[in-house]
Subunit: 342 residues, 2 copies
């Protein structure tokens, strides 16, 4: 009742060695594709392993080589394309580097810190999203025992980090909206929710400043669909007024836009709306959503790379790596529709 009917389990390197009539050392050698082994030995070992359906035990190897050959990744959750893309980039680079990836989702964990600690137990290094809400000091502690890289987090002097550019493109997209003659523009998103939103808001403010205008306080709401809908209701009810909305992500922008139009407002007529992320829906809605595209996949790959460098001790500086983004103009900002970019 303890191990079930695990079929051919219990086959170890010893069984294989015995069956092949060689020593375990030889088995190990051929299985590692290691140095000079006679063709005869190799053949016999491979055959025996095959017949026995031998599956090595990674734990034993890890213990012996003192390496897990695995990267840990902590994501907040997985809805929307952002984290998926990131994960794809991460996994694929990790695989190229011969590393497994063990994944943990922060959302819904009773004891996040405990979970992260446990994760740290079985990997050679850890990458985590800034938005995963891991306490600062936990990060510090972790980083004290194995390499950590922060993705889209607050750069810290002691920890590696890779992020995509926020402030500049936020300023750019905001300026764009301003140049359309909008005068009451609101920023939707909570700068306190994480460094990326914070930096986007900073760009929003900067754009206003360079236009000699004063930026409104941010509308501090979460970035989910329901929050956008709720916000739109408030606008429709006349609680707030604006002629342009700079949203901290597309999900929010899309939800707001949908509800507003249902309520009779026109976009970009009554309101210009722009988002962030360039999700798939952004180019399917009418009007197409003007937004900012980030090379998320690459971000994931770079994180894995960086982690691997640290693990293997390749010397790397700690300068945070920031990768560029680009503004995608469609028509929700007030520009005329054009052939769809993307």
């Amino acid at each position: 009742m303890a191990t079930g009917q695990t079929p051919t389990s219990g086959t170890t390197i010893y069984s294989v060695a015995e069956r092949a009539g060689v020593s375990i050392a030889s088995v190990s050698r051929v299985l590692q594709g290691s140095t000079a082994v006679s063709e005869k030995t190799r053949r016999r070992v491979l055959e025996a392993a095959d017949e026995l359906r031998y599956v090595p035990l990674a734990a034993a190897r890890s213990l012996a080589v003192r390496h897990h050959e695995a990267h840990g990744l902590v994501l907040p959750e997985l809805s929307g394309p952002y984290y998926s893309e990131l994960l794809m980039g991460f996994e694929s680079r990790a695989a190229e580097l011969g590393q497994s990836v063990v994944l943990m989702l922060a959302e819904g964990k009773h004891d996040l810190v405990r979970a992260v600690r446990k994760l740290a137990t079985r990997v050679d290094g850890l990458a985590m999203l800034g938005s995963a809400a891991i306490p600062e000091d936990t990060v510090t502690a972790l980083h004290g025992s194995k390499p950590v890289v922060l993705i889209a987090g607050d750069p810290r002097p002691d920890v590696d980090s890779v992020t995509s550019e926020n402030t500049g493109s936020a300023a750019e997209i905001t300026s764009h909206v301003l140049r359309h003659g909008r005068t009451q523009v609101l920023f939707l998103g909570d700068p306190a929710s994480g460094p990326d939103v914070r930096d986007r808001y900073a760009g929003f403010v900067a754009a206003h400043e360079s236009a000699r205008r004063v930026a409104a306080e941010p509308v501090r709401i979460p970035l989910r669909e329901r929050d956008g809908t709720a916000f739109a209701e408030r606008m429709l009810a006349g609680d707030l007024s604006a002629d342009a909305l700079v949203c901290a992500n597309d999900e929010l922008a899309l939800a707001v836009m949908k509800r507003l139009r249902e309520g009779g407002r026109t976009v970009p007529g009554d309101l210009a709306i722009v988002g962030w992320d360039d999700v798939m829906t952004a180019r399917y809605v009418e009007p197409g959503l003007t937004t900012v595209r980030q090379p998320v996949r690459e971000l994931g790959a770079i994180a894995s790379d960086r982690l691997h460098q640290r693990i293997t001790g390749a010397v790397v500086g700690v300068e945070p790596q920031v990768i560029p983004t680009s503004v995608v103009i469609r028509s929700s900002c007030g520009c005329p529709p054009r052939a769809d970019p993307g």
Copy 2:
């Protein structure tokens, strides 16, 4: 140059024991929250572990307990909400069961079989998507040495499987379209690409039969955006004609619909279009896309559960588990728009 500056590395259970002035057994005991340990000992151990920033080595534990405490998951890739949802369900259940999840994406792997084998090396059991394209015999071999559960794959007599219902809902949605008076309905998707598309097509055929009509041959195209666009071009060029399209997923349906409307066709006027998956965009487009919703998250959770049962030897039958889906009616099928469901 080999291990970098891994800070407090090298701390083992021995160092902790020494520092706490107890035996390694005691350390192990308190760290496992095990049986009776004096409060004093516990405190000292915890303190020492903390000071030393002790991070246990999972590999050593695994070796000793002969258990990885990890579930492997093989997904084809991660674009779109389907796999993400699945993964979220899987991860969260696994976490509840105290299992880590090590993830592998099939797409882009040079040597998939090899990669899966390697994965098998470090987990107690494996769940994989039917669409991940793992060769039959590899599955068999794997399953010969540790538990395997197939998700949305072809039920096999020997392997556990969990899938969501396909044929029935395909028949239902097709009948729905037929009842709108459509007479030339096409199925988009390649039944040979996997069991789910195959079963959906079977439902499509069944619906025609029970309406005493003959179902058209499937339009064998992949389920991606670009394929939908290309298909729409063909329709616009007059290569094909139809008054309704049953698409094997939403991505396809959405792309076709978009291109067709750009080309001047109306939906559902000229053509009714329905999809599968109920992705986010489905309710944002105009007209809203009629589609089939699957409880994907639950599917993931069930897979993890099932795997765990098998691993722990809880007796479970091999009857494939199939979980129900539901048709979501919006207006792309020809129904009048209504308050948005969902």
